[in-house]
Subunit: 456 residues, 2 copies
């Protein structure tokens, strides 16, 4: 039996590894095509390598092609799969370096092509110095560009989502002058509510990064084949490097061309075992798939390494003859922006509204440790609860230290459809070095409970 994997990062290689664990080399042959130079790396770590917190690129690689090969997975780097023939059960790949075409038959196929940065018309120009940030090859290209002499001095990051703010900070740490352009009134507008986004904007600004919100891009100026400036209605920003942080789209066109189902979010549709809908023996996982939001019940596309790993593992277990499922997501995310920790789970106000919920909100300020204990730092927790039922719909946290990971307790509460009133009784851990006697999560639940009562 042969398994072919398209895409050598988290999802694809997790699937391959799990299948390999369950089926020996005599039972299952595994071939993995990867169009880039790397396997099983942490794309999320790229900004920290660019910024210098992580010293070497190779630290981001969890498992090299050679390690996979030793484990019995035939990794073919720089091979781009360009066709899937579901009837003949084979894929066609281009050898990007050697040239030529490879055909490989499969019994099982894992489609794990990832996602690509959204690139508007104005960014699709033949000029060097414009980068998206998705693959480790992308990261390497940026790293090379920043390390070239004379080194770039001015950076413009377009898009204030979490990749945008992380990259802005990374380049600031490298000593560049950085401007962050964001279309919405506040950065991280897709991640957190504007009131929380305002705190993010302030923190970024304090690091000396210029933040321009409500910003449109008209076009990019070039010269000598290089980017020179970003032109907006309110002015021209000189730039030696432009980084796109406008989000990513699922790489699903190959799937669509092959007759595999693609959902409204642009991601490949799978069932909960990560089998592609109506395609036996074909599996998909990672940033290229559509998943299910456990609160709204609707389809969502949430490209995150943690989901990719889980989905890949689930696909691999099932391919290997086991049983595992990926039931869906609730939108948990966390990031560190300059000294600020920002986390969310469930729905933002905007998302809750779009899903048709009527809700109340409650925000509280509290501290990470008992107020009298050294190192106590401020945090804000905001909860969104359904009107009347009080079901916790979402939570957002902003703080300086020891704040953001509290989102996990809230995520488990969302996952279990707890009401904010039930949550006031939760037996959370308390000791002065770790929390005030009322943990901020409990204080927020109390305030949200009052708001729910008032909404009756």
């Amino acid at each position: 039996m042969r398994l072919v994997v398209i895409g050598g990062d988290a999802a694809g290689m997790s699937a391959a590894s799990q299948a390999r664990k369950r089926l020996g080399r005599d039972e299952l042959e595994i071939v993995a095509f990867e169009r880039g130079h790397f396997t099983s790396y942490s794309a999320c770590g790229i900004p920290y390598w660019i910024g210098g917190a992580v010293a070497e690129r190779d630290k981001l690689v969890a498992r090299t092609p050679q390690q996979h090969r030793e484990a019995g997975i035939d990794v073919r780097l720089r091979h781009e799969v360009v066709g899937i023939d579901l009837d003949r059960r084979e894929v066609v790949a281009h050898d990007l370096d050697g040239g030529g075409e490879v055909r490989e038959g499969f019994d099982h196929l894992v489609y794990a092509t990832g996602a690509s940065p959204v690139t508007p018309e104005w960014a699709r120009i033949p000029a060097a110095g414009i980068f998206g940030v998705q693959t480790l090859d992308d990261g390497s290209a940026i790293h090379d560009w920043l390390s070239a002499r004379p080194s770039p001095r001015r950076a413009v990051v377009i898009g204030g989502g979490y990749i945008g703010v992380e990259m802005a900070e990374a380049m600031k740490q490298r000593g560049l002058e950085v401007t962050l352009l964001e279309k919405s009134p506040e950065p991280m507008g897709k991640t957190v509510d504007p009131d929380v986004g305002a705190l993010v904007r302030k923190a970024i600004g304090e690091q000396g990064i210029e933040v321009v919100t409500n910003a449109d891009v008209e076009h990019i100026e070039t010269g000598d084949g290089r980017v020179r400036a970003v032109v907006t209605p309110s002015g021209t920003l000189p730039a030696d490097i432009v980084v796109l942080g406008l989000g990513v789209r699922a790489n699903s066109s190959l799937a669509a061309d092959s007759g595999l189902p693609v959902g409204v979010t642009g991601g490949v549709r799978t069932d909960r075992r990560m089998r592609v809908v109506d395609a036996d023996g074909v599996w998909a996982a990672g940033d290229c798939v559509e998943t299910h939001h456990l609160l709204t019940g609707g389809p969502v596309h949430v490209p995150l390494g943690t989901h990719a790993n889980k989905q890949g593992r689930v696909a691999g277990i099932n391919i290997g003859g086991g049983y595992a499922t990926f039931p869906g997501v609730i939108g948990t995310a966390v990031t560190k922006v300059c000294e600020l920790e920002v986390a969310r789970t469930g729905l933002t106000e905007k998302e809750a509204r779009a899903a048709g919920y009527a809700f109340v909100t409650a925000a509280v300020d509290s501290t990470s440790r008992a107020g009298y204990y050294p190192g106590a730092s401020l945090m804000t927790i905001k909860l969104i609860a359904e009107r009347r039922t009080g079901t916790l719909l979402g939570a957002q946290i902003v703080g300086r230290t020891e704040a953001a990971k509290r989102i996990d307790a809230l995520a488990v509460a969302v996952w279990n459809r707890m009401t904010v009133e039930e949550m006031t009784a939760l037996d959370l851990s308390y000791a002065p070095p770790f929390a005030p006697v009322w943990d901020p999560v409990l204080i927020a639940a109390r305030k949200a409970t009052d708001a729910v009562h008032a909404s009756m």
Copy 2:
């Protein structure tokens, strides 16, 4: 209408404050008797004040008697209630300083007398320098003793529960030579399993505290009315101060003498609104009450500030005409021992066995942040899951930094009766500064799931 509160710390004063919030001074008169000198303080903070991390005693006081009085609560310090007459609906208090007796009628009574350190026969001797640690008056006495000249040099802490280890560390920080005696094979034997306790022992030892386990105390040697040494079967330990860390017992004898029901754990029995069973208008809260373990269904006595605050608040809301409940506990606790963070929730192996569960365990080592991210530190997470059903019964965490608060996500999982297999899909937060791509909690859930499968 008059509310009388017995006990001026967390539980009693939370009840008083909540009742006051809901009923004005013309509707409800509130009298609070407190036999000590303080109200609404953090007993949990005492070791940090003794050790010097908290500079002043008054930092531990959340609300002074004067502040309560300004809020319309008639606080009577140094008044010890010695009798409750349920038929005449009045209490009798001794004025410990002024002398004499006070009688006060009540419509509602809150019984919040707290707990007292377990004091074995051998410790009940007329010698100065032997201390329990429960009230802020206890803490002050220790502080005074340690500050006296010539200052004590050698401390023996008897009992390696969390108060014992915190006090041992505090006195070490003050420069004393400290020996910790623990009856069990490992410290924190009531809190964590021996394998986790062994890690605690190591950390304490590394701080230069001598830890003697399997240790019995035969008697205490005294001289000139002061403690001189602790005598054990294996030797005599010179001591200028002896601190008892043998746990606490609910102060329920006054309740029992008054005909109020006391449970098998020694705590006063209440319903979920914190009304004393079969005693209308009489409420109880805090370290003096018995509560309900949500997993075993059995009665437990868990004296912790966080429960005391919640229970007091619930009592106060109900007294004030509202509706609130305290459904019970799941045994969550956290402490910092030297540089070690230790946390637990649910049941330990011993507790699970006592409750009749058959279970599997899984322990994993992982890191607080992505392995490549600066500051990643090691932690161990141990899960206990019911055989076959896979229901999460308990969790323990030991780590250096950013470890212990992960117990809250596990506590919410226990609270909601999640299985470890469901937990493998949990949407927990991930970004390199906060977690590996598989959070340690998820890795532990995966390993526990395998163990459950193997137990089928």
